[in-house]
């Protein structure tokens, strides 16, 4: 049995530190996801009207986000805006801003898709029955749209958690950075720590994302 460097995990507070690092990453993605879901619903409903200003804004916003890698957007925010406007932005704040901008556009697109996929005849029928626009949304559109949306937005959150791993390249001390520190500190005592520690990071990410993607898959099947 080769030395897999797993013993490092049980030394001192190493395992707890890794979990703490995971929490830093999860916190960034959960804050961004929260902002994205709220702002995305508002923008998406506004953009579901054809030929509205918000639908044009959303389309341009989406095409920027679809073409540029997340890493480039992070760089633009972290190095670019600090240079251009002279403010000080922590890596964590830059990440939350970029992920929220990205998530809002994606979420808005999902909401727009879900709202417009409901046949126009439904809206027209209840309009004829005398319901006001607010009531139409409350009783007819939202209940149907939400069912389509929930699995899709869970997938978006899973993607966001995975993308958050990039913030280590902006110098944020999250799980990968903590892993590096642990490996560095134990270089002498356990030279094979890189295997065990990175494997643990791998498994931790899997355990964080797997329940979400499983839930999304299940709901998608159930509500189809």
């Amino acid at each position: 049995m080769p030395d897999l460097g797993l013993e490092v995990l049980w030394k001192g507070k190493n395992f707890a530190r890794l979990l703490g690092g995971l929490w830093v990453a999860l916190r960034i993605s959960l804050i961004s996801a929260g902002i994205s879901v709220l702002a995305g619903i508002l923008l998406g409903i506004a953009a579901s009207r054809k030929r509205s200003v918000s639908s044009v804004v959303l389309r341009i916003w989406l095409s920027v986000i679809h073409v540029m890698p997340q890493m480039v957007l992070l760089f633009l925010m972290y190095f670019g805006t600090t240079r251009a406007f002279g403010w000080n932005l922590s890596g964590e704040a830059a990440a939350v801003i970029v992920f929220s901008l990205w998530g809002t556009a994606e979420m808005a697109d999902l909401v727009r898709g879900a709202v417009t996929s409901i046949p126009v005849i439904q809206r027209e029928s209840v309009e004829a029955l005398g319901l006001k626009p607010g009531q139409i949304y409350r009783w007819i559109i939202l209940p149907q749209a939400v069912r389509r949306l929930i699995p899709l937005s869970i997938n978006l959150i899973t993607r966001m958690i995975k993308t958050t791993s990039l913030v280590t390249l902006l110098g944020v001390v999250e799980i990968l950075k903590v892993a590096q520190q642990i490996i560095e500190a134990n270089r002498k005592a356990s030279p094979n720590a890189a295997f065990g520690v990175y494997l643990t990071v791998f498994v931790m990410y899997y355990l964080a994302c797997r329940p979400l993607s499983l839930a999304a898959k299940k709901l998608e099947k159930q509500w189809r």
């Binding site: 897999l4 997340q70 890493m71 480039v72 190095f79 995975k162 990039l166 390249l169 990410y205 993607s213």
Partner: protein, 219 residues
Amino acid sequence: MEWDYIEKVLPLYGKAAWLTLRTGTAGILLAALTGLLCAAALHWRVPVLRWITSAYVEISRNTPLLVQLFFIYYGLPKIGIRTDPETCGIAGLAFLGGSYMTEAFRSGVEAVDRIQEESALSLGLTRLQAFLHVIFPQAAAISAPAFMANVIFLMKETSVFSAVSLMDLMFTAKDQIGLYYRTTESLFLLVSAYLLILLPLSLLGSLLERRLRHAGFGT
């Protein structure tokens, strides 16, 4: 913005863009191959292989590429599997992309009605003929948009390769910012280079999607 400086470092970015393009293409091709094999294993319900495939898809889809790369580049050498940065990048991209490609191909094959294969078989075609002449053309048309979306997604994912010390576009830009504080010029070059690579792909994707929309045979 100083154009003299831009002119001076342009070859550097050209080299980096070429590296991104080269490793990206190699990784995507390997991912497509992996996807085809996995989709075949799932479609024909090959015993054992299909369990391995499902497990692989789950693991690959639920972990970030950066973590996969760190494990391949820094972790695996400890048990004797050593890779140079470029091989590591390509392998990582193939590992991540394989599962996305599997899903794209599998959904295409599944969208073709079972009765088509049965009809083809009853007309006397062999299983292979039925697949090649009846199932595959339709499945390919259905899979194409998802396939293109994956290609673009994977090309964008190459932007984390700098983490395993590949001198790609991100690496070059960060290096230049750190060395000479040329933030504006570096970011301008970075965005331009990625636009040059990704915009044609993205346009090709939407073109393909529009043309293949007519190819849904009774679906």
